[in-house]
Symmetry: C2
Subunit: 206 residues, 2 copies
Protein backbone atom coordinates (compact mmCIF):
# COMPACT_ATOMS: atom_id res chain seq x y z
CA UNK A 1 0.00 0.00 0.00
CA UNK A 2 1.16 3.50 -0.82
CA UNK A 3 2.17 5.95 1.92
CA UNK A 4 -0.47 8.52 2.80
CA UNK A 5 -0.12 11.65 0.62
CA UNK A 6 1.55 14.55 2.42
CA UNK A 7 1.64 18.03 0.93
CA UNK A 8 3.98 20.39 2.76
CA UNK A 9 3.58 24.11 2.21
CA UNK A 10 6.27 26.69 2.93
CA UNK A 11 5.04 30.25 2.42
CA UNK A 12 5.95 33.88 2.55
CA UNK A 13 3.98 35.90 5.07
CA UNK A 14 0.96 37.48 3.38
CA UNK A 15 1.12 35.23 0.30
CA UNK A 16 -2.05 33.35 1.25
CA UNK A 17 -0.10 30.11 1.67
CA UNK A 18 -1.99 29.08 4.79
CA UNK A 19 -5.37 29.78 3.19
CA UNK A 20 -4.31 27.85 0.08
CA UNK A 21 -3.22 24.91 2.26
CA UNK A 22 -6.50 24.88 4.16
CA UNK A 23 -8.63 25.03 1.01
CA UNK A 24 -6.46 22.39 -0.66
CA UNK A 25 -6.91 19.99 2.28
CA UNK A 26 -10.69 20.53 2.17
CA UNK A 27 -10.74 20.00 -1.58
CA UNK A 28 -8.78 16.74 -1.28
CA UNK A 29 -10.68 15.61 1.81
CA UNK A 30 -7.53 15.25 3.90
CA UNK A 31 -6.36 16.73 7.22
CA UNK A 32 -4.82 20.17 7.64
CA UNK A 33 -2.11 21.05 10.15
CA UNK A 34 -0.66 24.40 11.08
CA UNK A 35 -1.07 25.77 14.60
CA UNK A 36 -2.51 22.36 15.46
CA UNK A 37 1.00 20.99 15.27
CA UNK A 38 2.10 23.30 18.03
CA UNK A 39 -0.75 22.06 20.20
CA UNK A 40 0.15 18.44 19.60
CA UNK A 41 3.84 19.09 20.09
CA UNK A 42 3.17 20.91 23.32
CA UNK A 43 0.98 18.13 24.63
CA UNK A 44 3.62 15.55 23.88
CA UNK A 45 6.63 17.42 25.11
CA UNK A 46 5.02 19.06 28.10
CA UNK A 47 6.17 22.49 27.02
CA UNK A 48 3.54 25.15 27.54
CA UNK A 49 1.67 25.78 24.31
CA UNK A 50 1.82 29.54 24.76
CA UNK A 51 5.55 29.42 25.14
CA UNK A 52 5.98 27.48 21.91
CA UNK A 53 3.59 29.75 20.04
CA UNK A 54 5.53 32.77 21.22
CA UNK A 55 9.02 31.48 20.65
CA UNK A 56 9.26 28.92 17.92
CA UNK A 57 10.34 31.31 15.22
CA UNK A 58 12.11 33.88 17.36
CA UNK A 59 15.45 32.22 16.98
CA UNK A 60 17.82 34.88 18.14
CA UNK A 61 21.38 34.36 19.24
CA UNK A 62 20.33 35.12 22.80
CA UNK A 63 18.02 32.16 22.79
CA UNK A 64 20.85 29.76 22.11
CA UNK A 65 21.81 30.16 25.76
CA UNK A 66 18.30 29.80 27.04
CA UNK A 67 18.55 26.15 28.01
CA UNK A 68 15.52 24.05 28.62
CA UNK A 69 14.70 23.15 32.18
CA UNK A 70 11.83 20.80 31.40
CA UNK A 71 11.75 17.23 32.58
CA UNK A 72 13.70 14.80 30.44
CA UNK A 73 10.75 12.49 29.84
CA UNK A 74 7.23 13.80 29.80
CA UNK A 75 4.04 12.29 28.38
CA UNK A 76 5.98 9.85 26.25
CA UNK A 77 8.17 12.53 24.70
CA UNK A 78 11.87 12.74 25.36
CA UNK A 79 12.97 16.29 26.06
CA UNK A 80 16.72 16.76 25.72
CA UNK A 81 18.40 18.25 28.77
CA UNK A 82 21.19 20.65 27.89
CA UNK A 83 19.61 21.52 24.53
CA UNK A 84 18.28 25.03 24.04
CA UNK A 85 14.54 25.20 24.54
CA UNK A 86 14.06 26.14 20.89
CA UNK A 87 15.76 22.88 19.88
CA UNK A 88 13.39 20.87 22.02
CA UNK A 89 10.46 22.66 20.40
CA UNK A 90 11.79 21.75 16.96
CA UNK A 91 12.34 18.12 17.97
CA UNK A 92 8.81 17.91 19.37
CA UNK A 93 7.29 19.37 16.22
CA UNK A 94 9.35 17.10 13.99
CA UNK A 95 8.08 14.05 15.88
CA UNK A 96 4.49 15.21 15.53
CA UNK A 97 4.96 15.72 11.79
CA UNK A 98 6.43 12.22 11.39
CA UNK A 99 3.55 10.75 13.38
CA UNK A 100 1.00 12.48 11.15
CA UNK A 101 2.77 11.33 7.98
CA UNK A 102 2.82 7.74 9.23
CA UNK A 103 -0.93 7.57 9.75
CA UNK A 104 -2.88 9.87 7.43
CA UNK A 105 -2.88 12.07 4.32
CA UNK A 106 -2.52 15.74 5.18
CA UNK A 107 -1.51 19.24 4.19
CA UNK A 108 1.11 20.58 6.59
CA UNK A 109 1.89 24.30 6.50
CA UNK A 110 5.29 25.54 7.70
CA UNK A 111 7.42 23.97 10.45
CA UNK A 112 10.13 22.87 7.96
CA UNK A 113 7.92 19.84 7.22
CA UNK A 114 9.56 19.46 3.78
CA UNK A 115 12.93 18.95 5.45
CA UNK A 116 11.62 16.74 8.23
CA UNK A 117 10.01 14.39 5.68
CA UNK A 118 12.91 14.57 3.21
CA UNK A 119 13.17 11.43 1.09
CA UNK A 120 9.67 10.24 2.01
CA UNK A 121 7.68 8.88 -0.93
CA UNK A 122 4.33 10.38 -1.88
CA UNK A 123 5.26 13.78 -0.49
CA UNK A 124 4.84 17.00 -2.48
CA UNK A 125 6.73 20.04 -1.25
CA UNK A 126 5.18 23.38 -2.21
CA UNK A 127 6.35 26.95 -1.66
CA UNK A 128 3.89 29.85 -1.99
CA UNK A 129 5.13 33.39 -2.49
CA UNK A 130 3.78 36.68 -3.85
CA UNK A 131 5.14 40.09 -4.79
CA UNK A 132 5.51 42.59 -1.96
CA UNK A 133 2.63 44.84 -3.11
CA UNK A 134 0.15 41.94 -3.15
CA UNK A 135 1.27 40.81 0.30
CA UNK A 136 1.04 44.31 1.74
CA UNK A 137 -2.53 44.69 0.44
CA UNK A 138 -3.49 41.32 1.89
CA UNK A 139 -2.05 42.01 5.35
CA UNK A 140 -3.53 45.54 5.46
CA UNK A 141 -6.93 44.03 4.72
CA UNK A 142 -6.65 41.02 7.05
CA UNK A 143 -5.21 42.89 10.02
CA UNK A 144 -6.86 46.22 9.36
CA UNK A 145 -3.59 48.11 9.58
CA UNK A 146 -1.78 50.76 7.54
CA UNK A 147 0.81 50.19 4.83
CA UNK A 148 3.85 50.96 6.99
CA UNK A 149 2.75 48.49 9.67
CA UNK A 150 2.07 45.79 7.08
CA UNK A 151 5.49 46.24 5.44
CA UNK A 152 7.19 46.07 8.84
CA UNK A 153 5.34 42.91 9.76
CA UNK A 154 6.10 41.20 6.43
CA UNK A 155 9.77 42.12 6.52
CA UNK A 156 10.15 40.84 10.07
CA UNK A 157 8.32 37.60 9.31
CA UNK A 158 10.31 36.89 6.12
CA UNK A 159 13.53 37.33 8.04
CA UNK A 160 12.39 35.12 10.91
CA UNK A 161 11.09 32.36 8.63
CA UNK A 162 14.24 32.45 6.54
CA UNK A 163 16.45 32.27 9.63
CA UNK A 164 14.35 29.51 11.19
CA UNK A 165 14.44 27.42 8.01
CA UNK A 166 18.15 27.90 7.48
CA UNK A 167 18.98 27.16 11.08
CA UNK A 168 17.22 23.79 11.12
CA UNK A 169 17.70 22.64 7.56
CA UNK A 170 20.95 24.31 6.51
CA UNK A 171 19.16 25.14 3.25
CA UNK A 172 17.99 28.40 1.79
CA UNK A 173 14.31 29.19 2.29
CA UNK A 174 12.56 29.84 -1.03
CA UNK A 175 15.22 28.21 -3.22
CA UNK A 176 13.26 26.61 -6.08
CA UNK A 177 15.31 23.42 -6.07
CA UNK A 178 14.23 22.60 -2.49
CA UNK A 179 10.57 22.23 -3.49
CA UNK A 180 8.58 20.31 -6.09
CA UNK A 181 6.44 23.30 -6.97
CA UNK A 182 6.76 27.01 -6.18
CA UNK A 183 3.94 29.37 -7.11
CA UNK A 184 3.38 33.09 -7.04
CA UNK A 185 -0.17 33.18 -5.66
CA UNK A 186 -0.79 36.57 -7.30
CA UNK A 187 -0.55 35.01 -10.78
CA UNK A 188 -3.84 33.10 -10.68
CA UNK A 189 -5.21 34.04 -7.27
CA UNK A 190 -5.88 31.78 -4.29
CA UNK A 191 -8.76 29.74 -5.74
CA UNK A 192 -7.07 28.86 -9.05
CA UNK A 193 -3.84 28.05 -7.25
CA UNK A 194 -5.75 25.60 -5.04
CA UNK A 195 -7.28 23.99 -8.13
CA UNK A 196 -3.90 23.63 -9.79
CA UNK A 197 -2.38 22.02 -6.71
CA UNK A 198 -5.38 19.71 -6.34
CA UNK A 199 -4.99 18.57 -9.96
CA UNK A 200 -1.31 18.00 -9.38
CA UNK A 201 -1.96 16.00 -6.20
CA UNK A 202 -4.47 13.85 -8.04
CA UNK A 203 -2.00 13.18 -10.86
CA UNK A 204 0.49 12.09 -8.22
CA UNK A 205 -2.05 9.85 -6.54
CA UNK A 206 -2.82 7.88 -9.70
CA UNK B 1 -6.50 44.06 -26.96
CA UNK B 2 -4.39 42.00 -24.62
CA UNK B 3 -0.65 41.60 -25.17
CA UNK B 4 0.40 38.34 -26.81
CA UNK B 5 1.03 35.64 -24.17
CA UNK B 6 4.72 35.05 -23.49
CA UNK B 7 5.93 32.12 -21.40
CA UNK B 8 9.59 32.36 -20.45
CA UNK B 9 11.36 29.22 -19.27
CA UNK B 10 14.56 29.17 -17.26
CA UNK B 11 15.89 25.68 -16.71
CA UNK B 12 18.61 23.59 -15.16
CA UNK B 13 20.67 21.63 -17.64
CA UNK B 14 19.24 18.12 -18.01
CA UNK B 15 15.89 18.99 -16.40
CA UNK B 16 14.00 18.70 -19.70
CA UNK B 17 13.11 22.39 -19.63
CA UNK B 18 13.73 22.88 -23.34
CA UNK B 19 11.65 19.82 -24.27
CA UNK B 20 8.86 21.00 -21.95
CA UNK B 21 8.97 24.46 -23.59
CA UNK B 22 8.81 23.01 -27.08
CA UNK B 23 5.89 20.67 -26.25
CA UNK B 24 4.09 23.48 -24.42
CA UNK B 25 4.37 25.81 -27.43
CA UNK B 26 3.00 23.05 -29.69
CA UNK B 27 0.18 22.33 -27.28
CA UNK B 28 -0.79 26.02 -27.12
CA UNK B 29 -0.25 26.56 -30.84
CA UNK B 30 2.26 29.37 -30.32
CA UNK B 31 5.86 29.97 -31.42
CA UNK B 32 8.92 28.49 -29.73
CA UNK B 33 12.29 30.24 -29.43
CA UNK B 34 15.58 28.93 -28.18
CA UNK B 35 18.57 28.72 -30.54
CA UNK B 36 16.39 30.60 -33.02
CA UNK B 37 16.92 33.71 -30.93
CA UNK B 38 20.65 33.45 -31.49
CA UNK B 39 20.10 33.27 -35.21
CA UNK B 40 17.84 36.30 -35.24
CA UNK B 41 20.14 38.24 -32.93
CA UNK B 42 23.10 37.45 -35.13
CA UNK B 43 21.29 38.57 -38.26
CA UNK B 44 20.33 41.84 -36.66
CA UNK B 45 23.59 42.71 -34.99
CA UNK B 46 25.89 41.39 -37.69
CA UNK B 47 27.80 39.25 -35.23
CA UNK B 48 28.63 35.85 -36.63
CA UNK B 49 26.08 33.30 -35.48
CA UNK B 50 28.74 30.74 -34.66
CA UNK B 51 30.55 33.22 -32.49
CA UNK B 52 27.42 33.98 -30.50
CA UNK B 53 26.55 30.32 -30.11
CA UNK B 54 30.03 29.60 -28.83
CA UNK B 55 30.40 32.53 -26.48
CA UNK B 56 27.12 33.73 -25.12
CA UNK B 57 27.29 31.85 -21.85
CA UNK B 58 31.03 31.68 -21.44
CA UNK B 59 31.20 34.85 -19.46
CA UNK B 60 34.62 34.73 -17.94
CA UNK B 61 36.53 37.63 -16.50
CA UNK B 62 38.90 37.52 -19.45
CA UNK B 63 36.07 38.26 -21.84
CA UNK B 64 35.31 41.54 -20.14
CA UNK B 65 38.35 42.96 -21.90
CA UNK B 66 37.49 41.44 -25.24
CA UNK B 67 35.95 44.54 -26.76
CA UNK B 68 33.71 44.40 -29.79
CA UNK B 69 35.12 45.67 -33.04
CA UNK B 70 31.91 45.38 -35.05
CA UNK B 71 30.36 48.29 -36.87
CA UNK B 72 28.30 50.61 -34.69
CA UNK B 73 25.22 50.32 -36.90
CA UNK B 74 24.54 47.19 -38.87
CA UNK B 75 21.29 45.92 -40.43
CA UNK B 76 19.25 48.28 -38.31
CA UNK B 77 20.81 47.13 -35.05
CA UNK B 78 22.93 49.43 -32.94
CA UNK B 79 26.08 47.70 -31.74
CA UNK B 80 27.80 49.55 -28.91
CA UNK B 81 31.43 50.43 -29.51
CA UNK B 82 33.60 50.09 -26.42
CA UNK B 83 31.28 47.47 -24.88
CA UNK B 84 32.63 43.95 -24.46
CA UNK B 85 31.46 41.64 -27.24
CA UNK B 86 29.44 39.58 -24.75
CA UNK B 87 27.47 42.72 -23.82
CA UNK B 88 26.61 43.36 -27.46
CA UNK B 89 25.41 39.78 -27.77
CA UNK B 90 23.17 40.25 -24.76
CA UNK B 91 21.80 43.54 -26.10
CA UNK B 92 21.09 41.95 -29.49
CA UNK B 93 19.27 39.02 -27.91
CA UNK B 94 17.29 41.30 -25.62
CA UNK B 95 16.12 43.31 -28.63
CA UNK B 96 15.06 40.15 -30.45
CA UNK B 97 13.09 38.97 -27.39
CA UNK B 98 11.32 42.34 -27.12
CA UNK B 99 10.48 42.21 -30.84
CA UNK B 100 8.97 38.73 -30.50
CA UNK B 101 6.94 39.77 -27.43
CA UNK B 102 5.57 42.78 -29.32
CA UNK B 103 4.19 40.76 -32.18
CA UNK B 104 3.25 37.18 -31.23
CA UNK B 105 2.56 34.69 -28.45
CA UNK B 106 5.55 32.47 -27.76
CA UNK B 107 7.48 30.23 -25.42
CA UNK B 108 11.03 31.54 -24.96
CA UNK B 109 13.59 29.27 -23.32
CA UNK B 110 16.61 30.77 -21.57
CA UNK B 111 18.34 34.04 -22.52
CA UNK B 112 17.20 35.80 -19.30
CA UNK B 113 13.89 36.45 -21.10
CA UNK B 114 12.09 36.75 -17.74
CA UNK B 115 14.33 39.66 -16.80
CA UNK B 116 14.24 41.30 -20.24
CA UNK B 117 10.42 41.28 -20.19
CA UNK B 118 10.12 42.24 -16.50
CA UNK B 119 6.90 44.09 -15.75
CA UNK B 120 5.28 43.09 -19.05
CA UNK B 121 1.64 42.03 -18.72
CA UNK B 122 0.50 38.57 -19.85
CA UNK B 123 3.93 37.07 -19.24
CA UNK B 124 4.40 33.88 -17.21
CA UNK B 125 7.90 33.16 -15.94
CA UNK B 126 8.65 29.48 -15.36
CA UNK B 127 11.72 27.73 -13.94
CA UNK B 128 12.24 23.99 -14.50
CA UNK B 129 14.61 22.01 -12.33
CA UNK B 130 15.16 18.37 -11.35
CA UNK B 131 17.22 16.43 -8.82
CA UNK B 132 20.79 15.63 -9.83
CA UNK B 133 20.19 11.88 -10.29
CA UNK B 134 17.31 12.47 -12.73
CA UNK B 135 19.37 14.98 -14.72
CA UNK B 136 22.38 12.67 -14.87
CA UNK B 137 20.21 9.83 -16.22
CA UNK B 138 18.70 12.12 -18.84
CA UNK B 139 22.03 13.49 -20.07
CA UNK B 140 23.65 10.02 -20.13
CA UNK B 141 20.77 8.81 -22.29
CA UNK B 142 20.57 11.87 -24.58
CA UNK B 143 24.32 12.24 -25.17
CA UNK B 144 25.21 8.57 -24.84
CA UNK B 145 27.93 9.27 -22.29
CA UNK B 146 28.98 7.84 -18.92
CA UNK B 147 27.95 9.09 -15.48
CA UNK B 148 31.15 11.02 -14.75
CA UNK B 149 30.94 12.92 -18.05
CA UNK B 150 27.26 13.75 -17.48
CA UNK B 151 27.92 15.06 -13.95
CA UNK B 152 30.79 17.19 -15.22
CA UNK B 153 28.66 18.65 -18.02
CA UNK B 154 25.74 19.41 -15.68
CA UNK B 155 27.94 21.03 -13.05
CA UNK B 156 29.67 23.22 -15.65
CA UNK B 157 26.39 24.26 -17.26
CA UNK B 158 24.68 25.09 -13.92
CA UNK B 159 27.61 27.27 -13.01
CA UNK B 160 27.64 29.04 -16.40
CA UNK B 161 23.89 29.60 -16.45
CA UNK B 162 23.92 30.87 -12.89
CA UNK B 163 26.80 33.26 -13.63
CA UNK B 164 25.23 34.44 -16.89
CA UNK B 165 21.88 35.11 -15.22
CA UNK B 166 23.41 36.89 -12.23
CA UNK B 167 25.70 38.98 -14.40
CA UNK B 168 22.91 40.38 -16.55
CA UNK B 169 20.04 40.50 -14.08
CA UNK B 170 21.77 40.96 -10.73
CA UNK B 171 19.36 38.33 -9.41
CA UNK B 172 19.86 34.80 -8.22
CA UNK B 173 19.11 32.11 -10.79
CA UNK B 174 16.57 29.60 -9.46
CA UNK B 175 15.26 31.80 -6.65
CA UNK B 176 11.55 30.95 -6.42
CA UNK B 177 10.45 34.57 -5.97
CA UNK B 178 11.85 35.53 -9.40
CA UNK B 179 9.39 33.27 -11.23
CA UNK B 180 5.64 32.73 -11.29
CA UNK B 181 5.99 28.95 -11.25
CA UNK B 182 8.94 26.64 -10.52
CA UNK B 183 8.57 22.90 -11.06
CA UNK B 184 10.66 19.85 -10.41
CA UNK B 185 10.13 18.00 -13.70
CA UNK B 186 10.86 14.66 -12.02
CA UNK B 187 7.70 14.94 -9.89
CA UNK B 188 5.19 14.35 -12.68
CA UNK B 189 7.44 13.80 -15.70
CA UNK B 190 7.72 15.90 -18.85
CA UNK B 191 4.27 15.22 -20.30
CA UNK B 192 2.26 15.95 -17.16
CA UNK B 193 4.33 19.05 -16.51
CA UNK B 194 3.47 20.31 -19.99
CA UNK B 195 -0.22 19.67 -19.33
CA UNK B 196 -0.09 21.53 -16.03
CA UNK B 197 1.60 24.53 -17.63
CA UNK B 198 -0.85 24.49 -20.53
CA UNK B 199 -3.80 24.53 -18.08
CA UNK B 200 -2.18 27.39 -16.22
CA UNK B 201 -1.58 29.37 -19.41
CA UNK B 202 -5.20 28.87 -20.42
CA UNK B 203 -6.42 30.10 -17.02
CA UNK B 204 -4.27 33.17 -17.52
CA UNK B 205 -5.62 33.72 -21.02
CA UNK B 206 -9.26 33.75 -19.91
Amino acid sequence: MKNPLIITIGREYGSGGREIGKALAERLGISFYDKEIITLAAQKSGLAEEFIAGNEQRIRSGMMHNFSATASYHNGFFSHHYLPLSENIFIAQAQVIRDIAAKESAVIVGRCADYILEGRENTINVFIHAPMDARVKRIMHLHNEDEAAAIKEITRSDKERGNHYFRYTDMKWGKAQNYHVCINSALMGIQKTVEMLADLAQIEER
